[in-house]
Amino acid sequence: MLTIENLTNEIDGKAILKGLSLSIKAGEIHAIMGPNGAGKSTLAYTLGGRPGYQVTGGRASFDGVNLFDLEPHERAAAGLFLGFQYPVEIPGVSNLQFLRESLNSQRKARGEEPLSGGEFIKLAKEKAGLLGLDMEMLKRPVNVGFSGGEKKRAEMVQMGILDPKLAILDETDSGLDIDALKIVGSGINAIMRKPDKAVLLITHYQRLLDYVKPDYVHVLAAGRIVKSGGPELALELEREGYAEVVAA
């Protein structure tokens, strides 16, 4: 589904990713772990198309399409979802309005009919219920006044409604207490653990992986994948630390 080959990029002239390769097939969940400053969030933003994240070499093919030929909104319409470490607040725009415009923009880009107000509300209720988020929260402006945990749950409701093929989740576990972590973890499983979908989880810690079991774990250091393995690699990292594993 996603094949990244020898990707290099820079931000303000500074090289961050230095030849990163990774391949994700449908039905798989991959986790990327690594020390601070390794380029984990940069990878997520580069794939999402954030302005200022300049691709300088390599390729990323998403379902056979060159990802870097697409504008950020076109990547979303093609089925990519980026979960933000710090979800953005948008005063004056309600979550429902935000999501309905987003979903219908995607549907239009794919040549599908827009969802009616009633159909949309029904869908939103179902997905909010899955994440234990009150519909009243969705009537409020996007992320404004939400706690850290509420923001992350709202992100997962967005993911549920937009129903992507590939979710890249950048530290979705940060700022969550144990209960919220469980809810978010089971939300990811319910929405994304399907044969035709895939997930790239970016995280510092093993604990999210207790709830969302990865098929593959990769260690990202200094802009490259330096080690790959099964779920046991995450436990090894937790036990021995990045320095030990990266050096080995």
Binding site: P72, H73, P87, V88, G92, F98, L162
Partner: protein
């Protein structure tokens, strides 16, 4: 009293105006008078949507008598030069509320000028102006509040926010206070900003095309200006005109 001499830019209240466009319609008609009688509540609105290339000047001379209230809503979007001015005198315990939006593109010069005099004690006034300016448009708000010596317990605010869509657009905001009483609350705030780039990327990452995302953010920016228009038909007309203008701009 109407002066027949064309104003110059040296006069502060004409400093940002399009005087060439003004010359074509000079002298402008006498001000529209609005006198709100003691204890009454009145509502007025103006949709300044003059045709392309036209010049339009609307002057209002307003008195609000003791314990009376006037709510005025203005949307200033039309013509090459669109100017709306308010000269307001407040009686004891009176209230003046102005909610306005300026939305301009091309080479439009749009302005709202207010002179609010708190002549007696206990009067209150509120002015909220939101401007959205694209291309080479200029939007100005010049607002002075004058509090007379005996106008104790005056409470007045001016809130002015402008959003620039292009580097070539200009926003001028000039709140001015002249206070001769000593027990007075006057607040003013003015900001000029651009669309939040982080928000635009967040919206794009969810699939919104740039024009939809910008329009949604701009709608949110001016939302509230027409919230308390009592007449639903007027409210719909103002909101629809603002939205159509926004959609043409992004």
């Amino acid at each position: 009293m109407t002066t027949l001499t064309l104003p110059t830019r040296r006069q502060e209240e004409w400093r940002y105006s399009d005087l060439d466009a003004l010359a074509a319609i000079w002298p402008t008609p006498a001000p529209t008078r609005i006198d709100v009688a003691a204890g009454e509540n009145a509502r007025h609105h103006l949709l300044q949507d003059a045709g392309e290339g036209a010049a339009a000047v609307h002057d209002y001379a307003i008195t609000i008598a003791d314990e009376a209230r006037l709510d005025f809503h203005v949307l200033n979007i039309g013509g090459k030069f669109g100017r709306v001015t308010f000269t307001v005198t407040l009686g004891k315990g009176a209230h003046f509320e102005l909610n306005g939006a300026i939305i301009g593109g091309g080479d439009q010069v749009l302005e709202i000028i207010t002179k609010v005099t708190h002549a007696e004690p206990d009067a209150t006034s509120g002015q909220t102006i939101r401007s959205i300016l694209g291309q080479r448009a200029t939007g100005s708000y010049l607002g002075s509040i004058n509090v007379a010596r005996n106008a104790q317990r005056t409470d007045a605010f001016q809130s002015v926010k402008a959003m620039l869509l292009d580097r070539t657009a200009t926003a001028n905001a000039k709140p001015e206070l002249e206070i001769y009483a000593d027990d007075v609350k006057c607040a003013h705030g003015a900001t000029v900003g651009e669309l939040d780039k982080q928000a635009l990327f967040y919206m794009a990452s969810r699939g919104m095309d740039p024009a939809t995302a910008k329009t949604l953010l701009l709608k949110a920016f001016v939302a509230g200006v027409f919230d308390d228009v009592a007449d639903e038909a007027v409210k719909d007309r103002l909101e629809a005109a603002a939205l159509a203008k926004l959609e043409a701009l992004v």
